[in-house]
Subunit: 307 residues, 2 copies
DNA sequence: CATATTGTTCAGTTTATCTGAACTCTCAAC
DNA sequence: GTTGAGAGTTCAGATAAACTGAACAATATG
């Protein structure tokens, strides 16, 4: 007769608690915004489902049976937890709770966008924020796989169409040669130390060098800008790096030519058709604001070097 | 949009947990004995109600979103409690749990039926058993009010019709006179010390004395047999008492005539239309067994004095 | 005794939930 | 490629649950 598991619903539990708390059923029904009839039928149903008499029937009137204590306690517990869940759901809807997994390429994470993440973490302590730093290609895959809600990456050369890309920041890359090798005509540049073949930036650099008429013989690779910088300093080869990374505090490289060789577009990537995520929306908003702030005070067309 | 309170039901929570535990939704659906379709629709419904994305949609496939952790934990908690409730309900159905409030008149509680109650308490520790000792009239009212599940009382003279009475035991009452006053013709008996006017037994005694042609001038009253006994011993008046109580160990009275004057019927009283109560049924069964046991070895028509 | 209050019961309607079938995607095999 | 199996969704229709409104029964209250 009874199914293997009890199939109850929260509103019948509400009926029970309301009846226990109110002095009359009519009052309880009113407080719930239903008719007496619904209350009466709902409680009969609940009693039938649990299979334990919950009420004493004196004549036509039903009063809560004291032996129903465990059921009432159960109802209160479940309703309490349900209430908590609803509160949590509201907070998630407002972007004030939940989980947020964010990816950033190294430059973004340690550059001016890192503090944005820290601020977000501070301002929304109930959002469980996780930051992953990795190359653009890796992060792009993770966004697609749903492992990340969003990532700040280098714009993929052929946009695969299933990522929603939002321009964030245009980033200058300079040309760096070993000490004492002057930048002659492009044909004389190289050999190169640069990012691994999977890297978006490497692809961009390759394309730019071809355009300029330079060769692109790669003699050493690393994902880490610091490693590339040391290699150049040691005279292993030339490189093209974001100026912010090449010319950072300890042992900065000196540009082989004053003008940036090229630039790359950093974007915020999200998956098309991803579930709405208020927390992610908020963080993206902050990132865009920060980018506008950085861009703002400088004349049109020029980009300040990232601090 | 969302109602003030979340209206969830346990089966959708089961769907969620099943999906979290199974490797495919088809498997989860099979384990629950429903179609994939039902599972899919049920989970969509659940997601809509909670208002928080629970799944990552990659193409058409949905996988549980890690941010749904709190919902999953909620579901597991609620299902756990529901499971406990179901177990409790089964136990109550078998009379092995729940609450049982029993009333007994003093003679029954301290007589041979008291140990039955104790045994029941020992054998079913999960049944919360409460024993109330009071006069029949009081207990009858409490049974009617649903405060007691059953009571062992003196059969009410006019049965009010709303009590279900089960004969348990016929109890002899003797005639007791102050020391030195022989039992002459009934017209010479008295004056009397006896139970208060509300007492069933007093009414029975009154009727019997009238039948015998004796007066019934009452000079003192008490619900306590010991008090009545002392009064008789002190010479205040005559009384009619259950022989078990009048002739109990310390300071027993001596009967004014060897034959019992009358008898009264003890019954198990329950309310008509009371909720089925397996624990009460069991206890009544034990009481009847005990009564049969006491009656059994004696010849027909005679009743042993209660020990 | 009339009358308001309270709760139940009964039709009828609305809403949920299920099944079964058609359909979309993905993945892997040929 | 293309073909087919597996997984999941969507849709229409059936079934069951829950609600409303009205009629009714039982209790208080004047």
């Amino acid at each position: 007769m009874a199914p293997a598991v009890l199939h109850l619903n929260t509103q019948q539990l509400e009926y029970l608690v309301a009846v226990a708390d109110a002095s009359t059923w009519a009052e309880a029904a009113a407080s719930l915004g239903v008719t007496q009839s619904a209350l009466s039928q709902g409680l009969s149903q609940l009693e039938r489902r649990i299979g334990v008499p919950l009420f004493d029937r004196t004549g036509r009137r039903r009063v809560l049976h004291p032996g129903a204590g465990p059921v009432l306690r159960y109802a209160r517990r479940v309703l309490g937890e349900t209430h908590d869940l609803a509160r949590w759901a509201r907070a998630v809807g407002a972007g004030e709770a939940g989980q947020l997994r964010v990816g950033m390429i190294d430059l973004a994470a340690v550059g001016p966008f890192g503090p944005i993440v820290q601020r977000f973490r501070r301002e929304r302590p109930n959002v469980e924020l996780h930051l992953a730093v990795a190359p653009s290609a890796v992060l792009g895959e993770q966004v697609l796989a749903g492992e990340l809600s969003l990532a700040v990456i280098v714009e993929p050369s052929p946009n695969r169409g299933d990522l929603d890309l939002l321009p964030l920041w245009r980033d200058d890359l300079g040309l760096y040669a070993p000490e004492g090798q002057p930048a002659g005509p492009p044909a004389t540049w190289g050999p190169w130390v640069t990012f691994p073949a999977t890297s978006h930036t490497r692809r961009l650099i390759g394309r730019r060098l071809a355009e300029a008429g330079a060769g692109f013989e790669v003699v050493a690779e690393s994902h880490q800008p610091e490693v590339l910088r040391s290699m150049v300093a040691l005279g292993l080869g030339w490189t093209v790096l974001p100026v912010a990374q090449a010319e950072a505090a300890p042992n900065p490289l000196r540009r082989a030519q004053p003008e940036p060789l090229m630039s790359r577009q950093l974007v915020v990537a999200r998956r098309f058709g991803a579930a709405p995520d208020a927390a992610a929306d908020t963080l993206v908003g902050h990132l865009l604001e920060r980018a506008a702030e950085l861009r703002g005070p400088t004349p049109e067309g020029r980009h300040p070097v990232l601090p």
